[in-house]
Symmetry: C2
Subunit: 353 residues, 2 copies
């Protein structure tokens, strides 16, 4: 075992606090990373606070991890000590089902292993995430951070980036298409940049007129205020693809109505209480598709990183110290972040270990 | 003008009754059919009774029409007097939009012309359907009934058949796939036969244990009673495609949960009040798709007729006299029909004209 140190929630109501724990010694195919940066995702907060009802405590969140390889197992072939690497939402899966064989480990038929909140394959043990000084992961689930990419700003690509990139690839967003992005937060600000880099004409839908400038800087051609029914109706039947990043319950029909025939609306956020039921006529009359998508597989996560490097895309981040995580959660709940908090792990005070 | 005669509703509360009206003289590209048979679709009833709020009265329903060509315009090239032809749900469209150019006239961007309840292209006039002795339709919207197919049992293919065939083609149902059909009525009994002929392993979902025998005769391999939660849960993650033919509001989640990764659930019935809102997690966790589909285009309707002829598929019908239509509507509301009423137009008493 290797001693590790980070921040954990010990129960649903406890703030995150310093926590010492053990990581496994690197096995034959394992890579150990010294964590440099870890992005802060809404899922971290939901899990830390037990809001999905399935949290294993103590819980060390964090699945937008960038670090430098510190040790490798004897059988590791892809990475060497000193490489800059990433770890996203999953660190293992069954490796033999249809989805794993297709590189879609996030849909593993036998259940994948989350970077935190487990369960570890075989043992079922809990896993601890990136709010920590190091992590040990099988090289098959480790990503390479492309040369020249800012490592801190790359971290959120491992979740927010791939969650928006994957459905755009799956439903074949191509140059010249009209793509809508609902919501400008951690996911939305990645979606705008990626869709724009794919050559799409991107429209942001937001409740906040104040986001217009930012959206345009990120690459949106148009911004539509979603609270304006006339502005919304004017977009009817014009979109090829709409990515809805908003998890708060909201009416999907105004967006479905914007899709062309055969258009796709993809949900990547799951609301705590249901959205109003979408109108079936809206689906039938234009053969529209309402779909969901979950993060992305390992090969396409690497593809996304390389795509972002090529197009100069990173997350827009606000760096925080590890000790400021609880305050960051509160600000995140108020959407008071542009657009992702990233923990600088150099701020982790190991004297508390 | 040519004198025509049929049955019409004169307002939402009136039963259908004899009605004399005019058809246009066949124009250059028009085909006139002497109607032999007309299927009875739920849409007929909804329209006659004004339940969709858009009925133009008097309303002559009927869009599952089989007849023999009695006259043709000078420019008609596809059909000759004496040919056995069909007319389905649409008799015209704009002919120049993207969807029309792709042969998907049912999604015409400028609005297609229903076989009944109009509006006619250009004039906006009402159109009168197949509960009548003759109809005049541009040859581009006329189908050929394949040789050897029972003309009465072919009639329902023009709506019930194509409505189920089209989405199975669109989402590429192929041999060996597992296909679910929800509901065994006019649409469901066509869907089972067509999916089976495509080589799929077909499962019927029904609330009625009494339908097991019929479903198996139609080609279903399995029947699952949808009121049995354990039986439903046992099918989780096993279906490639589910066609939901039930328009009554019902919970979609048990069906969404049955889809494999990337599976498609297609709705072809629109409920009068919304279904319970489908769970977003069910979509996200397996990248599932909830979609809608509307009848089918003219080329694929011909393809469907030829496919059905090749595979010996027709509708299972109960023949009725024109004068029995109001009684048939009452029975249809109680699902007391196996599986489609077809009006024998030889029973139309023209002495009332």
């Amino acid at each position: 075992m290797a001693k590790a140190f980070g921040f954990a929630a010990t129960d649903a109501s406890a703030p995150l606090a310093p926590f010492s724990f053990d990581r496994r010694e690197p096995r034959d195919k394992d890579v150990e990373l010294d964590i440099l940066f870890c992005g802060v995702c809404h899922s971290d907060l939901h899990t830390a606070r037990g809001e999905w009802g399935n949290t294993l405590y103590p819980s060390v969140p964090g699945h937008e991890i960038v670090g430098r390889v510190s040790r490798v197992g004897a059988g590791v072939t892809k990475y060497r000590v000193g490489d800059l690497c990433g770890v996203g939402c999953l660190v293992d899966s069954c490796r033999h089902c249809v989805s794993c064989n297709e590189g879609l480990q996030q849909y593993c038929e036998n259940g994948w292993t989350g970077t935190y909140n487990g369960p570890e394959q075989g043992t079922g043990a809990n896993t601890y995430g990136g709010y920590s000084d190091k992590i040990v992961v099988d090289e098959a689930y480790v990503l390479r951070i492309p040369d020249g990419m800012d490592p801190a700003a790359a971290a959120p690509l491992l979740c927010a980036g791939i969650t928006t990139f994957s459905p755009m690839r799956r439903w074949r967003v191509t140059a010249g298409q009209r793509v809508g992005v609902v919501g400008l937060g951690g996911l939305g600000h990645m979606a705008i940049q990626i869709a724009n880099a794919m050559g799409a004409h991107v429209t942001l839908f937001t409740t906040s007129p104040g986001k217009l400038e930012d959206a345009k800087k990120l690459g949106a051609k148009d911004v539509v205020i979603s609270k304006d029914p006339a502005a919304m109706a004017a977009e009817a039947n014009t979109f090829d693809f709409i990515l809805d990043t908003v998890a708060a319950p909201h009416d999907l029909d105004p967006y479905l109505n914007m899709l062309k025939r055969d258009g796709v609306m993809c949900l990547v956020g799951a609301p705590a209480t249901p959205h109003p039921s979408p109108g079936v006529f809206n689906l039938i009359m234009k053969r529209r598709q309402l779909v969901g998508s979950l993060i992305g597989g390992i090969p396409e996560t690497q593809e996304m990183l390389d795509f972002c490097a090529k197009h100069g895309i990173v997350s827009h981040i606000e760096m925080i110290a590890m000790a400021d995580i609880n305050e960051a959660y509160e600000r995140m709940l108020k959407s008071d972040v542009k657009y992702r908090f990233v923990i600088d792990m150099a701020t982790l005070d190991k004297t508390a270990a």
